[in-house]
Symmetry: C2
Subunit: 234 residues, 2 copies
Amino acid sequence: MRKDVDLKKKAVVLLSGGLDSSTCLAIASHKKFEIYALSFSYGQRNNPELQSAKQLAKSFNVKKHQIMNIDLSVFGGSALTADIPIPERDLDQAMNSGIPVTYVPGRNLIFLSLATAWAEVLGVANIFIGVNSQDYSGYPDCRVEFIEAFNKTANLATKAGIDGKGFTIHTPLMLLTKAEIIKKGTKLGVDYSKTITCYNPDETGRACGKCDSCLLRKKGFKEAKISDPTIYQK
Amino acid sequence: MRKDVDLKKKAVVLLSGGLDSSTCLAIASHKKFEIYALSFSYGQRNNPELQSAKQLAKSFNVKKHQIMNIDLSVFGGSALTADIPIPERDLDQAMNSGIPVTYVPGRNLIFLSLATAWAEVLGVANIFIGVNSQDYSGYPDCRVEFIEAFNKTANLATKAGIDGKGFTIHTPLMLLTKAEIIKKGTKLGVDYSKTITCYNPDETGRACGKCDSCLLRKKGFKEAKISDPTIYQK
């Protein structure tokens, strides 16, 4: 039988190595969870992300960091996993053009499913994911209603949901602006120079400075009045 | 924009190579869907299953058969993916012992998530899965309530669910007994000698005849009054 005291203290944290997931990791760590970080090599373009994830996992003393291979590029359909150009445009345009080509079909559904499986094996009841619906509402799998539906489904899908108390999906960034996320993470010791947000970094991890994700990140640092430590190309 | 006529005619079918999923494939084929079959190499013991899946996909003329690698054995926690002995017992005992060690945490949640992602990329609205809650009620992710919750979640997770009509998860075997499944499949031309149900087959795919899954399959053929074409060890 699992012990409640254990259930309260451990968490699986989805960690991409980007700004949001790193802040989410810092929050879970600050809340004194013993952390099992889960990252994916999913055929994404920006593999320097995984190097960042490794460094961040280390700096927050996670109990275990599991990197799982899952080749979503066999499905294609996204600028992040297939040979589709990543758009360069201004942020207003990005925020008002509907779901962008950088959307990876089913990504958070898949990642949360795998996090649930691992959590069940570990006997862990808490799952953290750094989704955020405020500053960028284009992705359907970053919304409150998706997370709530997933949480119910995960509890119906698993032995832990039937035998025990089931899982709680934590989304501490859901309602924060990018500037608020950056302020919170800075306070909790996240070294953002080690995080990679860019959709199109070079092989050393330097950001392009032009993609939607870079623009949003720049704006976040500006609004937070925190100097932007990101290393840009050129 | 996707066309309704296309949406009605195509389906992603989850195909393990076992008795149930093969029957499910035959049913989708009989309903005149153009079929995109999806199988997983997930670190399971019985890899001859995948050979069966390939043969079955070919014999039902699927449009495409995608085999995806996803190593669930990194999580462990199941007799199918880790070094835990597979139980041998009588069927009454198997049916009344709760969730068995052959349960793979989160398996159908993960497989359906990946099927949803592929369906979204393909512009396909129908997903078939051969789950069955009648003859073997131990697995939480084979129940009607899980499938319904997943279907809602998939529609909230995806662009297809927001822009379009979303997905329909078909579970044509959900309420059938094993004998009824076998009768239906036989009528639709499934060659059950090519399907592998056993949890512990030898390297040539011959069944052990002793695991829960073999016992249930034997009982099914007996009750269906159809001669069992399964090739057993010794």
